[in-house]
Amino acid sequence: MGAIEFKGKTFGVDEDGFIDSFDNWCTEWVDYVKDSEGIPELNEEHWKVIHVLQDYYRKHGIAPMVRILTKVTGYKLKYIYELFPSGPGKGACKMAGLPKPTGCV
């Protein structure tokens, strides 16, 4: 488990830079991932995706499947890639503090 220091905070991260626990998520983490993902400025649409992911995760203990994410936000997958260049998993879920899914995925 590696550690990242950013704006006075320390985050534990895995090999792919995902945060060690959703409980340690905070807005500084979003700023950190934003910079590393090369997103200049977050707009309302970015935040909408982040909030949908987090709400679903709080309720269900897992990220929503991509099809639920696109349906609930109303954004097509292509547009989510425009918002988060690394995609819904490696970009948006990472920023929202969710863990990576495992198994036959």
Partner: protein, 540 residues
């Protein structure tokens, strides 16, 4: 995560062996060629030894002080317990028939990916420690000591084998190198040297019922979503039940189908089919996983995960189990279940309630594959099908390794596909049926950090797809395994862009004419059917 070289770079593969001998060639852990180490909490959940933080690329693997003793004792125990292992250690004559049959050898050019040499990694230690000749003459008899260098070699190459068993088809002695890999990985687990992409799903499955860790309420939420989606496409509202006691049949499929595209469309196909024939069946949120990542860990872990399906079948009082389009589940069921968790004498020999067909082939396991079930329905004319709905697809079929080589399911998928699609084309014969090439990511190798090696291992499969893509315009690769559905899209994007990936029951769902359905204008992916293109031309 490592960057993957471009296809034209990766395709330059040097098959010449290194100058020095194989025992003198150490492994080098580089980003993209190894999998991340198992996290301690996942080993703790499974009760496996030596949970700790470690990294394969670091020198110190934080091994127990007596790790050699543990491994050699473990090897001795398994030589006595598994006659197959003892036989495979003794019998190889190094004829070389297997040498060029492994997709990882073809894609890497690394001689230690020749099945004969992969097995030799263990065999040399066996010879050096357990045979009189080997103990006396060590290196001159091909034996060697178990050093840390050897251990690292085991880890590197045993997780560069997808246990697909293509090599065993060509071995004149029938040596099953996957069995050697399985024992090798089991030994590594004795000292806590697993990869997290195997340990995490196995721990999730043990704890919550499936590899993804989907809890019961989330599982229900996902099913509800599919029910809505099916209604949007067909106008028919299906009503699946969960954990229903007294149902005739329990249905189990990989959790990948519940969560990840394109498997989710295949799952919609299952739901539609079962609704249409009025099957008295239930899903389970406890036995909510077909796949078995325990199989990639140890016999004991495999057994514990497999037991859940049968425990649930017993609890619910069903007559038998239908399994979905899963890969490794079927190897576990057909080759280990009976002596491992069996006998399943509280269940009945599967009999189709629609056609009356008795599946004697499943008289021991009490579990049939959905593709044989569907093939039987079609054979008896029980389904109304409109294959023209799949007319924009030019389909080929990837024999998923385990249903093909592990249970001999070769004709049924083809029969189903040909009845639901008008355009079907086979790949070259040395790449299909029992000689099928692996997707390159089976046996728990389908992690993101391993992409370069996966693209190498998948090259022979992709090459065969490219052949039919160029020759016949094939644009859809069908398969019956959830790992396939997860990894083949990336493989196609990399080597053969413009070819999509589907499960067989997605094709069935598209072609299935349902009672009371509205006029369908889209397929299950909400893309327009042939003749309705003008209504919606935007891609998701």
């Amino acid at each position: 995560m490592a960057n993957v070289p471009k296809p034209d770079q990766l395709a330059k593969i040097d098959h010449r062996p290194p100058q020095q001998g194989w025992m003198e060639t150490p492994v080098e852990f580089k980003p993209g060629n190894y999998l991340y180490a198992c996290k301690p909490h996942n080993l703790e959940i499974l009760g496996l030894p030596n949970p700790r933080e470690w990294r394969p690329e670091e020198d110190d693997w934080k091994l127990p002080a007596n790790w050699q003793e543990i491994l050699l004792d473990g090897m001795k125990e398994r030589l006595e317990k598994f006659r197959s292992f003892k036989l495979f250690m003794d019998i190889c004559v190094r004829c070389g028939a297997c040498a060029d049959k492994c997709h990882f050898f073809i894609g890497t050019g690394d001689p230690k990916n020749m099945p004969v040499l992969r097995a030799e990694l263990l065999r040399s230690v066996y010879r050096g420690n357990f045979t009189t000749f080997g103990r006396m003459f060590k290196k001159y008899s091909g034996g060697r000591e178990l050093t840390e260098k050897v251990l690292k070699e085991w880890f590197y190459y045993l997780f560069q084998c997808s246990e697909c068993r293509r090599c065993s088809v060509f071995c004149p002695y029938g040596i099953d190198t996957a069995e050697v890999t399985i024992i090798g990985r089991e030994l590594l687990n004795l000292i806590g040297c697993n990869v997290d992409w195997v340990a995490a799903p196995a721990a999730n499955c043990f704890r919550t019922g499936n590899h993804l860790g989907i809890q019961p309420h989330a599982f229900k939420d996902m099913m509800d979503f599919f029910v809505d989606e099916i209604e949007e496409v067909t106008g028919v509202r299906v009503e699946p039940s969960l954990n229903r006691k007294g149902a005739e049949i329990l249905f189990v499929t990989p959790s990948g189908d519940v969560f990840a595209d394109p498997g989710t469309y295949t799952l919609m196909g299952y739901l539609m089919l079962f609704h249409e024939i009025g099957l008295d069946y239930t899903w389970s949120t406890y036995a909510s996983e077909g796949g078995n990542f325990g199989f990639f860990t140890s016999h004991e872990t495999m057994k514990r995960l497999n037991a859940k399906m049968y425990a649930e079948a017993k609890r619910l009082g069903v007559k038998y189990i239908i399994g979905g389009e899963c890969g490794h589940m079927w190897r576990v069921i057909n080759q280990y279940m009976e002596t491992m968790n069996g006998p399943a004498d509280f269940l009945e020999v599967p009999k189709s309630p629609i056609t009356g067909t008795v599946f004697d082939n499943a008289s021991a396991t009490k579990m049939i594959h959905i593709v044989e079930f569907t093939a039987d329905l079609i054979k008896h004319g029980k389904l109304k099908l409109d294959p023209s709905r799949n007319d924009k697809l030019r389909v080929t079929y990837h024999d998923s390794c385990n249903p093909a080589r592990g249970m001999g399911l070769l004709e049924e998928p083809r029969y189903v596909i040909k009845n639901v699609c008008n355009n079907f084309f086979e790949m070259p014969e040395n790449t299909i049926r029992e000689r099928t090439f692996c997707c390159g990511s089976g046996a728990g190798l389908n992690a993101g950090e391993y992409l370069e090696m996966r693209m190498r291992g998948g090259l022979p499969r992709a090459n065969a797809v490219k052949h039919v893509h160029d020759k016949h315009g094939v644009n859809m690769l069908s398969c019956i395994c959830a790992i396939d559905r997860a990894v083949l899209p990336a493989l196609m994007d990399y080597w053969v862009p413009d070819v999509g990936v589907t499960g067989v029951h997605e094709l069935v769902g598209n072609a299935l004419v349902m009672e009371g359905e509205k006029q369908r204008t889209t397929d299950l992916r909400s893309e327009p059917l042939p003749g309705f293109e003008e209504e919606d031309d935007e891609d998701l």
